[in-house]
């Protein structure tokens, strides 16, 4: 489909340039080295970081931010390492994901990928306890992803029943390893949890400032 030039947002590239990690976006000269070495492109041939960057330079804001491909980047940083223009491609995609979340909050787009839910559930456990709590993460993530508590429990069981049993039998979670009765089953909490709360609050305020 042809690009409708009158619908482009010339300011979109500045939005990216102003975010930490997005500073070098305009150095891209479209050589495609990022895409040629990408392990995701190997599996999903339509996945094309070069194209996403070019679209953002052109100002195709809605198309970029609602592109489901943003959410299948594995953050392996191969693109970043190989970019001859030091664009820090991996970080640029992270900036786009953050802008997409903001755009969703503003009601401009809808994100189909469950990845924002996963990242939020992960970070909630860090904010609450100071450390990752796998079970707490799963208990928040699956019901949200599946739309109901029951469906969430079902999906969690199907993904993690075998894994959980292995962790239990190997004594990595639970009493069999002799490391404690509730090892890995209960959250590991740090004492300075108030500092975690303050950190997350500061980050949220910084986000609003931008």
């Amino acid at each position: 489909m042809p690009i409708k030039t009158w619908e482009l947002d010339p300011n979109f590239k500045n939005e990216i340039l102003n975010e930490p990690g997005g500073e070098h976006l305009t150095a891209c000269y479209q050589c495609s080295t990022c895409t040629l070495g990408c392990p995701i492109t190997e599996l999903v041939p339509s996945y094309n970081p070069r194209k996403i960057i070019q679209m953002s330079l052109l100002g195709m804001r809605t198309e970029v931010l609602s592109n489901p491909d943003l959410w299948i980047c594995a953050i392996c940083q191969t693109c970043t390492a190989r970019c001859p223009q030091n664009v820090v491609v991996g970080d640029v995609l992270a900036v786009m994901r953050r802008l997409a979340e903001k755009a969703e909050e503003a009601g401009e787009i809808k994100i189909e990928s469950p990845r924002p839910l996963f990242e939020t559930a992960f970070l909630h456990t860090v904010e609450k306890y100071g450390r990752l709590y796998d079970i707490g993460l799963a208990m928040e993530y699956y019901p949200k992803r599946e739309g109901s508590f029951v469906a969430g429990q079902k999906a969690m069981m199907s993904d993690y029943m075998g894994f959980g049993m292995r962790m239990f039998l190997k004594g990595k979670m639970g009493p069999l390893g002799g490391h404690g009765l509730f090892k890995g089953l209960l959250a590991s909490k740090i004492k300075q949890r108030d500092v975690m709360k303050k950190i997350f609050k500061w980050v949220e305020e910084k986000e609003k400032e931008r």
Partner: protein, 288 residues
């Protein structure tokens, strides 16, 4: 030896899914005579899920500050924790304003940039050194190993400490202990898929499959690695990958510290070798 004492940042998986990496790290460093002082009350580094750099900087400022207060460089056995500690350290060292702002969140986050974050492979090979390790070896680990590095060791350039395309630090350790590195250069630095496991398991499984497949075809007895997320993906999820893709690997996945520990004469159970999901004890037959 240039290093006697380090602050040790185990990272969240050390408490459950990568318990064997934690156990073998402590055992190996004790044997090498390098004291590890666990970062008191350490917090999560944000892993791959903290996509806002400010969050990474603030979370890691706290861990860096705790290590700085005891005046020790901080070492971690996890590649993602290393990446986050190192990029936070770079940003904080370069930006006085950022340091002041983060200190303003809470006084416990006051970090002055006087220490250095290190990945365990870097410490073993470049700081302790192959000669020093060699002098303490008592056994030969005659296994065929696929040395798997994954991400954040040779890239991104900002925090890398080995070659981006053909890293060698783990290869050197494996040769040193009597092992043989099988041809594995096409997979050494490919991503294991771990960060996509919870949201696109189909892609993650396929990425892991390629690594397992290549190691098996190269005749490896095991894959050695140095990252707990790769460990979770390749070891703990291996039975799920086999089932989903209808393949059979039964490929033992061991942390490099477990292999090194065997060569140092440490009891296998002290290295957590009973905890690897895919039976790793069969490599013991090749320890002489």
């Amino acid at each position: 030896m240039s290093v006697e004492k380090l602050a040790y940042y185990p990272g969240c998986p050390s408490e459950a899914t990568a318990l064997e990496q934690h156990m073998s790290t402590e055992a190996v460093f004790e044997k090498l005579g390098v004291e590890l002082v666990e970062v008191e009350e350490w917090n999560c580094c944000g892993a791959a899920e903290a996509e806002d750099p400010n969050l990474v900087y603030a979370l890691n400022a706290r861990n860096l500050a705790i290590a700085e207060r005891v005046n020790l460089d901080i070492m971690t056995p996890c590649s993602i924790c290393y990446y986050n500690l190192a990029r936070a350290n770079n940003a904080l060292k370069a930006d006085e304003e950022l340091r002041a702002e983060i200190k303003g969140i809470d006084p416990s986050l006051e970090y002055n940039g006087t220490i250095t974050p290190k990945h365990i492979l870097d410490v073993l090979v470049n700081d302790i050194g192959l000669e020093e390790i060699k002098s303490k070896l008592v056994k030969k680990v005659e296994v065929k190993v696929a040395p798997y590095y994954g991400c954040y060791i040779g890239r991104p350039p900002e925090t890398a400490f080995d070659d981006p395309d053909d890293p060698v630090l783990m290869d050197q350790l494996i040769e040193l202990i009597g092992g043989e590195n099988v041809p594995f250069s096409t997979m050494k630095t490919k991503c294991c898929g771990g960060p996509l496991m919870m949201t696109r398991a189909d892609l993650a499984f396929e990425m892991a499959r390629k690594i397992l497949d290549t190691a098996k075809n190269a005749g490896a007895d095991c894959i050695a690695l140095a990252c707990p997320l790769c460990g979770m993906m390749l070891d703990a999820k291996q039975p799920d990958i086999e089932k989903a893709l209808n393949v059979k690997f039964e490929m033992p996945i061991v942390y490099i510290t477990q292999l090194l520990g065997l060569a140092l004469g440490i009891e296998p159970n002290k290295l957590g070798l009973q905890k690897n999901v895919v039976g790793a004890k069969k490599i013991l037959e090749k320890v002489v």
